[in-house]
Symmetry: C2
DNA sequence: GACGATATCTACATAGATGTAAGTTACACC
DNA sequence: GGTGTAACTTACATCTATGTAGATATCGTC
């Protein structure tokens, strides 16, 4: 196949012109992958640009600055975490939500979407204001658990916030250092979830 | 006060010549403080050098490279974490170790010693081999709890490793994202410790 | 007090990340 | 099909972190 193959009528355009929304979406997907696979330091303009096939200057054009890209990534991932928590709330309110299902929903939110690593990055870098959208989702989760599970009593709200704090701490910890820790203790991959699911009823009933 | 004040008999030496051990110790103390206060990206040769009053070239002379400094910091902090866990073990084996005392010991190791932020940094950067010295300390902790607390039974070892996994996950999570999470839920600062201390007996008895 | 080992510094070189300015091109719209 | 907007690129400038080479100063030791 020669370089100037006459069969190739239409050359692909040298440049691909994306809509601003599409480029932002592609860049954030790439940046999230880099964060999860290679850590926060891998999120650079050149790294993301090479990954999606644009120059670093173009990323600055769309995000304003490198910090703008990082902020957009934090916002995007935090929104996904909040959505995942909201989905857990919806599931809890609709059908037969067992404690283990709730635990799985929260653990998945921190683990699969990379929210655990994101939260660790935010905490280490000190940009705590980016966690703010999670607050409403957490409150919704508290309310949903109160409706669904909690026994009546004076301490109900306190017990449920304890339960949410407990689940969130464990889900976050499990997402970030669960694998090496389970390896040290020779435990199976879902042992964290099992433990939390087993302890949860002591808060709720 | 003139520059050449005759009253100032002995000028302080322009350079302070430290022993290699002393410089390494000072550098690692500074690097740990920078990690805890400003995050992993603050640990630079210039940052640490300015902090302790030496040039970055001198730090390279003593640590070999920037990566050498970071590795030394990880080793130092992991050793401190292992020592703290060993201290908790010793306390557990000697006197009246209540569950809350054990919880406080582990939580303090992760929180005050900076081990939580260290572990998050290691996990995000992928240098998991640096956590290896923790393995022995964790095993010691399991053994000590088995001796001290655990009721007799077939499942004893499994229950205790569950307890250790549980404490470690919560202590790590509490050290890294405990403050913002407690703020969202309007809980007091030691609520994480309270919860863990209250749940611990269900593993041990 | 002289000397030697080496801790320490200065000066320079390099690489990567970020940012700016100006030119180029794709694509919607008329 | 022409035209304008703006997505996109190239080229350049800057800043920071890291690393190297050689000069210099400090301190223990004789």
């Amino acid at each position: 196949m020669s370089i100037q193959d006459p069969a190739r009528i239409e050359q692909p355009p040298k440049r691909r012109r994306r809509s601003p929304e599409e480029l932002r979406r592609e860049a954030l997907v790439s940046a999230r992958r880099l964060l999860i696979e290679s850590g926060p330091n891998a999120i650079t303009l050149k790294g993301v640009g090479d990954d999606i096939g644009v120059t670093h200057a173009n990323l600055i054009h769309h995000f304003g600055s490198a910090a703008g890209l990082q902020s957009a990534l934090m916002e995007s991932m935090v929104r996904d975490l909040a959505d995942a928590l909201d989905a857990a709330v919806a599931q809890l309110r609709s059908d037969t939500g067992a404690p283990r299902a709730l635990v799985d929903a929260v653990f998945d939110a921190f683990d699969q979407g990379g929210a655990g690593r994101l939260a660790a990055w935010i905490a280490l870098s000190g940009d705590l204001q980016h966690l703010e959208p999670v607050r409403a989702a957490v409150h919704d989760l508290v309310d949903a658990i109160v409706e669904k599970f909690a026994a009546e009593g004076e301490q109900t709200h306190g017990r449920v916030t304890s339960a949410v704090l407990f689940i969130a701490l464990c889900a976050f910890g499990d997402a970030v250092i669960g694998p090496p820790l389970r390896d040290m203790l020779d435990r199976e991959p879902d042992s964290g979830r099992k433990i939390v699911a087993r302890l949860l009823p002591s808060f709720l009933f």
